[in-house]
């Protein structure tokens, strides 16, 4: 016989009651009364039978005679209360007389209530109803707890899978985060956190562009060992890189020993021309220190720098599958050409840059230059240093 369904909080007339008594007349009488009230009755004639019937039928209430041969009612009560599956089943002790000693022992063994023989019909109905109400309440709580526990277990399993997912995502983030190092910080920030409006949508802006490369690098790379070439490049990039970051320039690209640096895009900065000039002067000083060291190793490598300023169309160029951040306009070509014209240790700036930073720099005009790709000749200045 399996466990039955209960409707929480409601005493149903179909509640099952186990009647335990070794006197057949008593059993008959109780059985008759209870059945008349609509209860289902299970009968046990001694202690042993009571224990097995209780386990088997899981009654809602037990009417237990105390005076029985072999295992008496007190002992049966104790054992039933010790059984986790039955501990909450109410027990009404039925005694021949209201013997105080018996009752105390019965209550101590876990009995919930008592009736005296001869059993009064009215008292029986009332006690049974009251005990069944408590039982039903307990069952409701029990069921709710079970349902909650099941839900909790489900939640716990789901949480474990979520935790796994979080860990996987963290690993993925760590991986994807590596890409950031391959972008100028400001640019990475814009691409990653840019809003719905595409930050790399092409726009026009005035920028200052710095081109820098090492005179003699191609010839050096032709004859030097690859390890030497990479060591020189690494040191040069590291030293120049510090200055680029310190002056808030954006390194647009490396081309071997060449570097192209923007000021005022992708993030606008105040005084881009001044920043660019201060950076290039610092770069030249550092590159000259490096050149002196390299000269001792037998390499003739000196930095040449070109700076131009002007409007450019800036944004993502390329195609779906491979985009690049870039600036389109003569300003980038002019900076590159001026860099190409610069002698080792020279910083050549365009007329426009010179106008923007005239107060700041000590510069000499070097006349008109004929530059490849330009229709007209270009006025350029050589920056000797900063004033003051």
């Amino acid at each position: 016989m399996g466990r039955r369904e209960y409707t929480p909080g409601v005493v149903r007339s179909s509640a099952r009651i186990l009647v335990v008594d070794d006197t057949p007349a008593n059993v008959r009488m109780l059985e008759t009364l209870l059945r008349r009230d609509g209860y289902e009755v299970v009968v046990a004639r001694d202690g042993e039978e009571a224990l097995s019937a209780a386990r088997e039928t899981q009654p809602d209430l037990i009417l237990l005679d105390i005076m029985m041969p072999k295992i008496d009612g007190i002992e049966v009560c104790r054992r039933l209360k010790a059984d986790p599956a039955l501990g909450f089943t109410p027990i009404i002790m039925v005694t021949a007389m209201a013997d105080a000693k018996d009752l105390v022992a019965g209550f101590e063994a876990g009995g919930d209530d008592y009736l005296t023989k001869p059993v009064d019909r009215q008292a029986l109905a009332t006690r049974v109803k009251s005990m069944l109400r408590i039982k039903a309440l307990h069952d409701t709580v029990q069921q709710q707890a079970e349902r909650l526990e099941a839900q909790s277990a489900e939640l716990a399993r789901w949480n474990v899978s979520l935790e796994e997912r979080v860990a996987q995502q963290l690993a993925e983030l760590e991986k994807v985060g590596r890409l950031k190092r391959f972008f100028s910080p400001q640019l990475a920030e814009l691409i990653v956190n840019g809003g719905a409006d595409d930050p790399l949508k092409s726009h026009r802006r005035e920028v200052t562009v710095v081109f820098l490369d090492l005179r003699g690098f191609t010839a050096f790379a032709e004859v030097a060992e690859p390890e030497e070439v990479m060591a020189v490049l690494h040191e040069y990039h590291a030293r120049m890189g510090e200055l680029i970051l310190a002056h808030q320039g954006t390194l647009e690209r490396f081309t071997g020993d060449g570097m192209m640096i923007f000021f005022n895009d992708p993030v606008p900065v105040p005084n881009p021309g001044e920043r660019a000039l201060r950076m290039t002067v610092a770069m030249r000083d550092r590159a000259e220190e490096l050149a002196a060291r390299w000269r001792k190793l037998g390499y003739e490598l000196r930095a040449g720098i070109g700076v131009a300023q002007g409007f450019a169309t800036i944004g993502a160029i390329g195609f779906e599958g491979r985009l690049d951040y870039g600036a389109i306009g003569t300003v980038t070509n002019l900076a590159a050409r001026l860099c190409g014209e610069a002698q080792g240790g020279q910083i050549l700036i365009s007329q426009r840059v010179h106008t923007a930073v005239a107060e700041l720099v000590d510069a000499e005009p070097i006349g008109e230059l004929n530059l490849s790709g330009f229709h007209r000749t270009v006025t350029a200045f050589n920056v000797r240093g900063l004033k003051g």
Partner: protein, 249 residues
């Protein structure tokens, strides 16, 4: 009865709170990954893969490999970008880069960078390509065919732009260059400069290749010797060939 109920309720509440936090975190991380992944579009696919796998982290962990380098650009672009409206310039560039991009993908090249109208493409690194010299020259010839069609259209709109290519092969040092805060995957070696210089020497519609390159592909191409060129940055004069087309297979 009451304590059982309370204990279970408390446990359920805790689990549910933790569940909400976890779900929130998963949502946040999904968004974060999505945002970071936008960076992928700005690196060539194979290089992106290597970066994600952590294979190109160390700038000193470079390798030597024989590669073919292709440089392309548009003659007349500087003058054009100087005088044309920015929208017009960007539209020309979009068509041009799109056309080149398709050819690069079709021939398994890797774009090293865009420099305005200039594009540098690597073969055999980071993606190994069998007969990379031949793959590179087939790509260059395809590009010339396609860009010539585009140029006819540009010419009707009044823009005088012509395609030029330089190709060289040789050993280079490849890997991560740059500094803390800004890294790049790059190829270092005279082969890169040589391809760039040949590209600037190329006249409209020419594909100039180095002598060594020519030696690798001569059975496949029709080419004319151009004699010796004095190229900026190189000690010695360089022999170059103009590839006019592919031999029928």
């Amino acid at each position: 009865m009451k304590s059982l109920q309370e204990r279970v309720l408390h446990q359920a509440e805790e689990l549910s709170a933790w569940n909400s936090r976890l779900e929130e975190r998963v949502r946040e991380q999904v968004a974060q990954i999505e945002r970071l992944s936008r960076l992928k579009r700005f690196v060539s696919p194979k290089i992106g893969e290597l970066i994600l796998a952590g294979d190109v982290e160390d700038p000193l962990q470079t390798h030597r490999r024989e590669i073919t380098v292709v440089f392309t650009d548009l003659r007349g672009f500087t003058a054009f970008s100087d005088s044309a409206e920015p929208e017009e310039v960007m539209s020309v560039l979009r068509d041009y880069h799109g056309t080149l991009g398709r050819a690069v993908v079709a021939h398994a090249g890797t774009i090293e960078h865009f420099a305005g109208d200039g594009v540098m493409i690597l073969f055999n690194d980071p993606l190994a390509v069998a007969e990379h010299e031949f793959a590179a020259i087939r790509m260059a010839v395809d590009m010339r065919t396609e860009v010539t069609k585009l140029a006819a259209d540009w010419s009707r709109r009044g823009h005088d732009l012509a395609f030029g290519v330089g190709v060289a092969n040789g050993f280079a040092t490849l890997g991560t260059i740059g500094f803390e805060g800004r890294r790049d995957y790059g190829a270092i070696g005279p082969v890169c400069n040589l391809a760039a210089r040949l590209c600037s020497e190329a006249k409209a519609g020419q594909i100039l290749v180095s002598k060594r390159m020519h030696g690798r592909i001569e059975q496949h191409v029709v080419a004319e010797p151009l004699g010796e060129l004095a190229l900026k940055g190189f000690h010695r004069n360089v022999q170059a060939f103009n590839v006019t087309g592919l031999k029928p297979a």
